[in-house]
Amino acid sequence: MSTTMTMAKAINAGLRAALENHPNSLLMGEDIGSLGGVYRVTEGLKADFGADRVMDTPLAESGIIGTAIGLALRGYLPVCEIQFDGFVFPGFNQITTQLAKMHSRSEGALSAPVVIRIPYGGGIGSIEHHSESPEALFAHTAGLRIITPSNPQDAYWMIQQAVACKDPVIVFEPKRRYWLKGDVDTTAPTSDPFSAHIVREGTDATIVAYGPLVPVALAAAAAAEEDGRSVEVVDLRSISPIDFDTVTESVRKTGRLIVTHEAPTFGGIGGEIAARVAERAFLSLEAPVLRVGGFHMPYPVAKVEEHYLPDIDRLLEALDRSFAY
């Protein structure tokens, strides 16, 4: 059955399904109960599942993640909401030194299947710490899985797949796409959440994007078509693990690759993809892999963020550079 809904509504429906399908699952975070979260993603869930399943917690990120780990060790499936990307850092220690390592530290005896939802990325005209993209900081830590939906269909299923996963999963939710509408088939799950999807076929160049930039990449590909360039767009979907097979296969076909994300390019996911593609498909490349991302600066103030965020023009300019080789 296919229904049109926004991404926020799709996550809400996905969380509802998770709460129904897993009696030991619970949601926890600041303001997620009566308010329904600052983005209303959990709206109505407390009313339907009760305050014990949808817990408004004290305002303390380390406490939220830390107690979630304890609940997970006891057999529960906690889904934590962190209000904004820039606020995850008080919980960074718990995520990287504890949550990520619980399974390996116990030599497989324990698992901590905690899900952490983090609205991330810019383009909402907000203030400091409300627009960051810290995914690479977490992807660097073994033991964590990181996924990011770019459309309502994925949003609905990926949150449920995250809850069902035995490993800790961070779901980076592209907050500026919360209101993006799309069809959701609630009867059939999408494929493996840790695989990439080719969302537009092309033959001349590949753009790899994820989360909030997938619509930008698709728009750039459409614009490039007017110039006679056939651009393939890969929605990465999973940042750890990365589906390098799909990416490499696409580059072998097109010979050119642009990777785009909002996070700073230095030390980012784009560099990892560029390096892997160079290792795997060097002879297929017609041009160096190019990256279009954020700059090496704190996320800028809202009034100038448009210059920081990759947009259609910056992607088209990168394509021009790629084709110039």
């Binding site: 979630a68 304890g70 220690n93 718990q94 116990s106 030599e107 497989g108 750890s240 390098f244």
Partner: protein
């Protein structure tokens, strides 16, 4: 030392004289619970006395026996480190009263979240002590299955285990709502006076209070966070902090195993029966180094250490047992023999512990298959396979000794 006037760079050694009993003694808590005097005389206590009144002679001797064997274990582990068999050791000497007293108050269904020095608590949970050494031998980041003895793995990041204990306790309370037939249970979060400065202790206590979690926070105030004295951590007795969270805080003489036992039993009953969290501050002293890499002579006074020798938890319990006619020379000699045998077995056990294969490190990074792990394991295997048969051609490439020789 006045905490309002901390020296800018390092601590004023003159101020350390005041740390003989720690800063809180300059601002004493009137109610530090004590049941045994330093001379081993039993004191009356209307609140906690009843928790030890029914102990049998065998149980009372058991307290001493546990403390003695754990100290013997600690000595042996320290020796093993000095001989290169362990990469590091974290001694507990001086804290046996706090650990055995509290550990023996636990029920099987309770769950312990230790820091990294709770060897005595581990012993009371029935954990094979040799398992504790696997981490310190450098062959495991864990060493045991926490579920077997309801004793969690050691945590090296200070206080990180405190919110885990709270969350686990919240889970225990939820479980009983679903299944009231489950036995009442609680968690105990162990941490030290140094860790009490960490934010996770604060956040853990906030969550515990908010959800009325059945958790006992057991702070072993051993007076030193490596080289930094308690007065730099807190200007009030640590137990008093509980009041700010809205639950009971009790300071107990941590070198009085019976008092610790009584207070912990009370606290666990309070938590298990729905009363909510309790903070216990066990006022004790780390008589040895922080770890085998530490050198306490650089930061504390020998007079300080000597004063605490008189408060030795073993000595005090021995006096009590002898005063009461519950143990004689034969008992103590028998125990020494048992300790020697245990040390021999431990040494043999440790020397037989072998490092895992490197490939094992890939095994449990994730609970479900992760392609990057597979890919890197394959790369590693290809690299290793590249040396196969190379020995004959060029020994220098594979044999470290030969490589050194030819260099």
């Amino acid at each position: 030392m006045d905490v309002g006037h901390l020296p800018a760079s390092e601590f004023d050694s003159a101020g350390l004289e005041q740390s003989l009993m720690g800063a809180p003694d300059a601002n004493p808590v009137p109610d530090m619970v004590q049941l045994l005097t330093i001379d081993g005389e039993l004191l009356q206590d209307d609140t906690y006395g009843s928790y030890v009144q029914g102990l049998t002679p065998e149980e009372l001797r058991g307290f001493y026996r546990d403390m003695f064997l754990v100290r013997r274990f600690d000595e042996e582990a320290t020796a093993l480190q000095r001989q290169g068999e362990l990469v590091m050791w974290v001694p507990l000497t001086g804290q046996e009263g706090a650990q055995i007293g509290s550990g023996r108050a636990l029920k099987p269904q309770d769950y312990v979240f230790p820091t990294y020095r709770e060897h005595g608590v581990a012993y009371t949970r029935g954990l094979e002590l040799a398992q504790l050494l696997r981490r310190f031998r450098g062959i495991s980041h864990g060493g045991w299955d926490p579920r077997e003895a309801n004793f969690h793995l050691y945590t090296l990041v200070l206080a990180a285990q405190v919110p885990h204990a709270v969350g686990y306790a919240m889970g225990m309370a939820r479980d009983r709502l679903v299944n009231p037939k489950l036995p009442e249970a609680a968690t105990v979060a162990y941490f030290g006076d140094g860790a009490s400065s960490e934010g996770d202790v604060h956040e853990g206590m906030v969550f515990a209070a908010s959800y009325n979690a059945p958790v006992v926070f057991f702070c072993q105030n051993n007076h030193w966070a490596i080289s930094v004295p308690t007065e730099v951590q807190s200007r009030i007795p640590l137990a008093n902090r509980a009041q700010g969270y809205g639950f009971p805080g009790v300071r107990v003489d941590g070198n009085d195993v019976l008092a610790v036992h009584a207070v912990t039993r009370w606290a666990l009953e309070h938590a298990r029966s729905g009363g909510g969290p309790v903070l216990i501050e066990a006022f004790t002293y780390r008589m040895s180094a922080h770890t085998t890499a530490d050198d306490p002579t650089k930061y504390r006074l020998s007079a300080d250490e000597e004063a605490w020798l008189d408060r030795d938890p073993l000595l005090r319990m021995e006096k009590y047992l002898r005063n009461q006619g519950l143990a004689d020379d034969a008992f103590f000699e028998e125990l020494r023999e048992e300790g020697r045998n245990m040390a021999v077995r431990l040494r043999e056990n440790v020397q037989q512990m072998e490092a895992p294969g490197f490939e094992d490190a890939f095994a449990d990074v994730y609970a479900e298959a992760h392609p990057l792990i597979r890919e890197e394991l394959d790369e590693h295997r290809r690299y290793e396979a590249g040396f196969a048969g190379a020995d004959d051609a060029n020994p220098a490439t594979t044999d470290p000794a030969a490589r050194e020789h030819t260099a």
